[in-house]
Amino acid sequence: MTQPFPYLLLPSLWASRNRARRRERGDGTRAAFFGIVGLGVAGAIFSGAFWLTVQLGGFADFGDYLLRLGLSWLFLSFLSFLAFSGIVTALSTFFLSDDLRLLLAAPVSARRLFHARFARTVGLSSWMVVVFIVPVLAGVGVGHCAPWSYYGLSVLAVIPFVAIPVAIGTAVTLLLVNIFPARRARDILMLMGLLFAGGLVVLLRMIQPEQLLRVESLPDITDFFATLQSPITPLLPSFWAAEAVFASLQGHLDALHMAALWTTACGLVVLVAAANERWHFTGFSKAQEARKRRFTRFEMLTRAARLMPMSPIRRHILVKDLKIFLRDVSQWSQLLLLLALVLVYLYNFRVLDLDRNPYMSGMIKNVYAFVNLAMAGLVMSTVCARFVFPAVSAEGAAFWIIRTAPVSLRAFLWSKFWTGFVPVFLLTELLTIAANHFLGVAPFLRVVSAAAVFFMSLALVGLATGLGARYPRFNADNPSQVAGSYGGVAFMIIAVLFMILLIIFVGWPASMFLWYSANPRLILPAQTALLGAAGFLAALVLSLSTWWFGMRSGVRALESME
């Protein structure tokens, strides 16, 4: 007897079950860490939604109007995310998954395969939205004292709302794969997605949402939300979902919009299933064809590396690492997102209105210098976790080449260190100098910050390289997986602790010095000066020992690796 389509989903469920059963070192810590962070975030979202709903409740009809607009806006922002996520996930589930060869060779009907894969695509591409929307809708419901039917109707609205963009995304994927080879399409999409995300971050920042927090700009809030409305909005599923949820909040059933959601979802699934039956196999066949991809030779890179004062082995490892990085779209495209975040970071300091209180601006500017240092440290930790920590794991299954070559693992790891150190240091140093310039902080603090960033770079890049060698994941599919592993999380925790200590050690003596400089009539006591020097010394020792311990631990781990 032919099993119904959910049978085809069993392997992934069994795999998840087996992963949960088979515990590895650090799984408990990781689960606890992510569990606590997840609950904290969900709690914060719930509280935020609850607080906002209660506040809006105080404005009677106007509050309801804003809540309705807010819901519409919330669903609208998820709609585009779901469509894009649907395209990327469908590429993998329908065309690139390894298990497709097994399933397509088996006597499984195209329709059954479609339903199973579509269910998987919906699950994979929407879980993040669902995880976010549940505490929001719960917060709104509790804040508005909604009837119980609200929660049931919300679930009924969210299911088709999620299915519609994913179905559209699947159809787009089907079209793309029949035009381009699947892997090429994936690269194009990844790039488009990151450009989209980066652009969105910059745009959102440029509309200056902080103005909404100013009392004098309150009348503009309605205008602000109104700009998000347009004549086509009522035709979008996000509008239907928002209307259905808002009606259920008032204790009504908005049958029209609920029906629009369900009929559109079901109709699209039927249509996409039919298209899939017709064109899936052609696209899948194309995805199997050998790729003859165009790529850049980077001859300049090789020539430039020859001019650098380094040993030939380090030079070869550096050139190899850079070429691999620059040829992998999933790697270098993340730099675009980083660039967008850097622009926003600098823009924030540029638009800070510190002169509103002239009596305080001098002090606040200097306090901001330390905030800037902490932020630069966080940027550095994130960049290290994403790009430096996975450096050893990036060797993957080809690591045997290094291990069987006449190259000491110490030289190999130091080569990885310097490859990471130079860009991380330059990026963070430029960020700090530029931000301090925009802020107009005292010259003394500029020098202290610049020096601190140098030592921070040594410590964090050393720690990331070392821990990356200590906890490698050679079988990971991509560097993000490596960064999210036990070792990656451990690195982030240690990095944050390091940052806190460093800022305390540097911040206290620097503030003391500034305080006495601003008050020339006061004389700096010798004991305080000594304590200040000890603070700087402690920061120096902390940085150098973190660097040294990190690298030593990494070299030892590589040397004892089997």
Binding site: A290, R291, K292, R293, F295, R297, P312, I313, R315, H316, V319, K320, K323, I324, R327, D328, G396, A397, A398, W400, I401, I402, R403, T404, A405, P406, V407, S408, S560, E562
Partner: protein, 250 residues
Amino acid sequence: MISIHDLVKKYGAFTAVDRVSLEVRPGEIHGFLGPNGAGKTTTIRMIAGLLKPTSGRILVNGHDLATEPEAAKASLGFIPDRPFIYEKLTAGEFLRFHAGLYGMDDATVGSRVTEMLELFELARWEQELVESFSHGMKQRLVMSAAFMHRPQAVLVDEPMVGLDPRGARLIKDVFRRMSARGVAILMSTHTLEVAQEMCDRISIILKGQIIARGTVDELRALAGDPNQHLTEVFLRLTGGSALQEIDEVL
């Protein structure tokens, strides 16, 4: 050239390799045979420097792998059973990178790369990314790299896996020529025809211990039948009686 003495590898209570000693002389092709799980790959990986022995000594070209790992590895070429290479490099770039790791002079690398790619029939793929290669092409590229720095000893783990008959023939010819030039080759294989055809001497490993060693004729004599094919000799020495069981099951 490759000399191992009382090599032991233990995984907890399990002994994967148990006091194995072996000598591969210059110009010799030495076959390393054994059933699955007998300890062949573990031994090869220890000689290549990928696994740390529990005890014992490994010398390559007179250099102790434990105390002079870089000098020992510089004399060695290693061809693993699965050809994992950097997918985002071209064949030419991979060989140049490999040459750099082995400290080859930049001035001679270019001509050597061309030479090796031509020898292994990969010249027209020099500028292609490795990710577009078939398994057999990757295997040939790994072999090009292994011979690139003119090693004095070569370790080969399952050389014929994934090669077409033309590729297999090419590899056999290369191995013969290299051994004629004095390169010592230690080759682990399951393909007994290849071992019979190419190896000067053969060691058979079973449950981590060498149970027989000698030329094909010496092994035949040891098995008690001088006219037997190597497969029969191997099965007899390693206690293989599975064929009869297969008949019973089928």
